[in-house]
């Protein structure tokens, strides 16, 4: 029964992003029968020998009293993670062949993740919307009302201009000073090599980088019943294409493109998830969280 409401087309009819996120996450959680705590809690890991310069606050004084040797206590992970979502707001995200376009789907996805992080785990969450430059930046925070600020930022994100990861990347580096989880939501219409080259530096700061590749079904399988003129939503370039081409060559090229992107992403130590906009949101979230497993 609840599953029906997780259909993207049904979610599109819900005007409040918070309600959308709540519907998706609660439904997902209810279906999973799991605790909302997903493993970001404090757990003791090991003792390490003190070396000069270490923070004295982490010294286990009880052990020192018994052994007169100084050890440091080390824990698994951070007590609280830092979640930052980079949302592509370029023109190509406007495309949609059915009730929900890619931009809406990305909004629902981001809203759901924010809800999960803030309500479920009390993590700090932030948002960066960009196209060929930074459009909006909401600093990660755990303050009261952060969820509403993020959802408002998602509401205001309007698709325009074209995607270019290279230009806003150095801004990302400045904004993402603290280590955390960086989720990039985009349709990634660029060459995989160039994409990975531009995104990979985020990983070097110790961030966990995950690419959510949002595509419309017609991005993969275009439907043409006759010769047509196609126009690029970002560049406005036009091209005359026949159905024969889209049925054969184009599909092969798309499959190769997706495989290449996945391979390069994983080779660079980043996560990659392909999300089709006709797929229920809770499926996507479940896949992501299941695969993420117990990672910190």
């Amino acid at each position: 029964m609840l599953q029906r409401f997780l259909n993207p087309s049904v979610l599109a009819s819900i005007s409040s992003l918070e309600l959308v996120a709540k519907t998706v996450v609660d439904g997902f959680v209810a279906g999973l029968h799991r605790s909302p705590d997903f493993g970001f809690s404090q757990e003791f890991a090991e003792y390490a020998a003190y070396t000069p310069g270490d923070d004295l606050r982490h010294v286990d004084w009880n052990v020192y009293a018994r052994t007169e040797r100084m050890f440091l206590k080390r824990y698994h992970g951070e007590t609280n993670s830092l979640l930052t979502i980079l949302l592509d707001a370029s023109n190509s995200m406007q495309f949609g062949s059915h009730g929900v376009n890619k931009m809406d789907y990305a909004r629902y996805l981001a809203a759901s993740l924010f809800y999960l992080a803030i309500h479920g785990q009390r993590d700090a969450a932030g948002l960066i919307t960009f196209d060929d430059e930074i459009r909006n930046y909401i600093r990660p925070s755990t303050r009261q009302g952060q969820l509403h600020r993020l959802l408002a930022g998602l509401e205001q994100a309007e698709a325009r201009a074209r995607t270019d990861f290279s230009k806003p990347m150095h801004y990302f580096m400045e904004l993402l000073r603290r280590r955390g989880i960086v989720l990039i939501v985009s349709d990634f219409w660029d060459s995989p090599e160039s994409l990975i080259r531009n995104i990979e530096p985020l990983r070097f700061r110790g961030n966990e980088v995950v690419l959510f590749h949002v595509l419309d079904p017609e991005d993969v399988v275009p439907k043409l019943s006759g010769p047509s003129i196609l126009v690029d939503l970002e560049t406005q370039a036009q091209l005359e294409v026949t159905p024969d081409y889209t049925r054969n060559e184009y599909r092969e090229k798309v499959a190769a493109h997706l495989a290449d992107l996945r391979e390069r992403t994983q080779a660079a130590g980043m996560g990659y998830y392909l999300l089709m906009t006709d797929r229920p949101l809770d499926d996507a979230l479940r896949e992501y969280l299941t695969l993420r497993g117990g990672r910190n």
């Binding site: 495309f95 219409w189 019943s225 047509s228 196609l230 970002e234 091209l239 005359e240 024969d244």
Partner: protein, 671 residues
């Protein structure tokens, strides 16, 4: 093959439009948006070929629709032999039975010619009509030869005045309704006087072919009594002698002496010789017309000895009756108005009216309905009792002449007439010390016969607001002087000056007598009785008040032409025959009129050959005129193809719609 309106072929330039649209359509095809063209490659050749192949049929249909539309406007026709078209063509046989066709053997000749044409047409679809002042259809379009011949034989001589303009108008109306070519055979004496004032009125439509059959070829000399001037009524047994004046005219005649007779009730009472100049006119005067009481049928006759005896007399009716009573109400002490009005009536109106003069104080016990009309002269205060009784009298059909005089200046409005008095005009203070008449309505008998009141000086007048009254005479400063207003069934005439010689010098002027005479006749309604009328004139039978009462009309043949329903409701009656009509009007009054044909019918001059050729539409075909009746040779007749073009256009438009909707459907699918 040809085109009735070839200039519409200029619209062929519009054929470029579909080409332009189809080319433009290729360039402006609605693009389909995609996220990115990164993985697409251009493929154009095969698609373009495919589209051209599919849209060629649509383009062809659109070109066909435009071409047929232009052709429909250009109205193509093909020339076809009339013999081939005999079943689709209407042969219209029109026999002129106007009054001039009574001359000699014109009408029998015309009917013989029509019979010959009918015999030559075989089984053609034909229709027979008689043409006098109007076109009377004798049959429907039929192929029954005996019925058509019987219809031709049934045409009787008429007394109307033919008008070829009226014939052309009727044929134009017929051509619009039948939609087939009409072959119009006109059997007539082609009288010049029957031509329309403007030649364009005689124009015939393109699908009407006129074939004229003239029964005479040249003018014939003819004498006629062109005009008779005689009164319609004579009053009392001691009335003054009545003059009868007649004009004798000769058309194409040599100078000759003719004998003119005045006939009363069948008895010749006077005879006079008159010398009529060559192709000219002469007048003759009979000084004394003696008629008994009641209606007398009178006529003026000549011994013409020409081929047209029917126009040698002119009829008129005269009624002798007792004089009618008229009442003049004046101010106490005003002796001038009764004097002048009474003198004028007795001098001019042939003792038609007996004037009774009373002052306003004596008027209360008089019954207004006993008088033919009433004159109110210079009344300061009209008693309300008198005003009410006079208002009722007028509403019931009585007539009133009000002379405002000087005393009415103190009132705010004219009694009974109801006009608001704006101010008084005292012209003795202007430089000329009088005001003359500025403008007058010459169609009004009281003004026309008084020579427009020229030279009459007015010293005083009231300026009144005419409202809905008819202003007949105005002074030079535009002050209304003579007005008429209909109140109920009656009428009131208002003179804003007086009937004495204090406010004007009108009573001392010669124009006063005809003014009083004509006004009296007009108000008493006697000018409508007796006398003569032309054929086709209308006679007023009743006004609205008398709707429920029947009238009776007896025509010259002693028949009653009105049905019971018409007798109970008809407002007027058309006098269609020459002779004497007896009428009993709705108010019970008897009347009798003499009806005469139009004098133009007596001029037997024929239409010039060049005008006739022009009317037939082709001077080169003048040889077609049927000198031998019925010998009209077969000729080419244009038959319009408009209906076929429109049918094709309709089919093409449907095919184009179906095909275009299929293409549009495909595009919608693609989008």
């Amino acid at each position: 093959m040809g085109l009735f309106a070839p200039w519409f072929l200029a619209g062929l330039a519009g054929l470029a439009l579909p080409f332009y649209l189809h080319l433009l359509r290729r360039q402006t095809r609605k693009p389909k948006p995609v996220s990115s063209l990164m993985l697409y490659e251009s493929r154009t050749q095969s698609s373009t070929r495919h589209r051209r192949l599919r849209y060629f049929l649509l383009l062809s249909l659109r070109l066909a629709v435009l071409l047929l539309l232009i052709l429909a406007f250009a109205n193509p026709f093909i020339n076809r032999n009339t013999a081939v078209l005999s079943s689709a063509r209407l042969v219209l046989l029109v026999v002129d039975n106007s009054f001039s066709m009574r001359a000699g053997t014109r009408l029998p000749d015309a009917k013989d010619a029509a019979m010959s044409v009918l015999a030559g047409k075989g089984a053609a679809r034909a229709q027979v009509a008689a043409f006098g002042s109007q076109l009377h259809l004798m049959t429907q379009p039929i192929e029954d030869q005996p019925a058509l011949r019987a219809a031709v034989q049934a045409i009787q001589p008429g007394d109307g005045h033919g008008n070829f303009g009226e014939l052309a108008r009727a044929v134009r109306a017929m051509a619009e309704s039948v939609h087939t070519p009409i072959e119009l055979h006109l059997f007539s004496d082609m009288q010049r006087g029957e031509m329309a004032p403007a030649f364009s009125d005689m124009a015939l439509p393109a699908n009407v072919k006129l074939v004229t059959h003239a029964v005479v070829s040249k003018a014939q000399p003819n004498w006629t009594v062109e005009q008779v001037d005689a009164p319609g009524q004579v009053w009392g047994k001691d009335a003054k002698p009545v003059h009868v004046q007649a004009v004798i005219a000769g058309y194409g005649t040599p100078a000759a002496q003719r004998t003119v007779s005045l006939v009363v009730n069948g008895k010749t009472t006077a005879t006079k010789p008159v010398a009529v100049p060559a192709n000219g006119r002469a007048s003759v005067d009979f000084p004394a017309l003696e008629v008994p009481y009641g209606f007398s049928r009178c006529e003026v006759k000549i011994d013409a000895a020409d081929a047209f005896p029917a126009d040698d007399l002119r009829r008129f009716a005269v009624e002798r009756s007792d004089p009618q009573k008229a009442l003049l109400v004046h101010n106490y002490g005003d002796n001038r108005s009764p004097l002048y009005v009474g003198a004028a009536l007795s001098a001019a109106a042939q003792s038609a009216f007996i004037l009774e003069s009373i002052n306003v104080n004596e008027a209360a016990d008089r019954q207004p309905s006993n008088y033919a009309f009433i004159v109110l002269s210079d009344l300061n205060t009209v008693p309300s009792l008198l005003e009410n009784s006079l208002t009722e009298y007028v509403r019931a059909g009585g007539s009133l002449l009000i002379a405002a005089g000087t005393s009415a200046g103190g009132r705010s409005q004219i009694p009974i007439f109801g006009a608001h008095i704006v101010e008084t005009r005292d012209y003795s203070r202007v430089p000329d010390r009088f005001m003359a008449v500025g403008s007058s309505d010459s169609s009004y008998p009281a003004v026309a016969k008084a020579n427009g009141w020229l030279g009459v000086k007015f010293f005083y007048a009231l300026d009144v607001d005419p409202g809905d009254a008819r202003v007949i005479v105005r002074l030079s400063d535009q002050t209304p002087l003579l007005l008429e207003k209909r109140i109920g069934e009656g009428r009131v005439v208002l003179l804003t000056s007086g009937l004495d010689n204090l406010t004007n010098d009108f009573p001392l002027h010669p124009a006063f007598v005809p003014f009083i005479e004509q006004t009296a006749r007009y108000l008493a309604g006697s000018e409508r009785h007796g006398g003569a009328r032309p054929v086709d004139a209308y006679l007023e039978l009743r006004n609205a008040r008398e709707r429920a009462q029947g009238v009776e009309v007896t025509d010259p043949e002693g028949k009653r032409p009105l049905t019971l329903g018409e007798a109970a409701s008809a407002q007027s009656f058309q006098l269609t025959e020459a002779g004497y009509y007896q009428i009993r009007l709705a108010n019970g009054r008897q009347d009798e009129v003499g009806v005469n044909p139009d004098p133009k019918e007596s001029n037997l001059d024929v239409m010039p050959a060049d005008v006739l050729s022009l009317w037939r539409g082709n001077a080169a075909e003048s040889s077609q005129e049927a000198s031998a009746p019925g010998a009209a040779p077969p000729h080419k007749t244009p038959q319009t193809l408009w209906w076929y073009v429109m049918l094709l256009l309709f089919l093409s438009a449907i095919a184009e719609s179906v095909l275009a909707s299929r293409y549009l459907g495909t595009e919608r699918e693609e989008s």
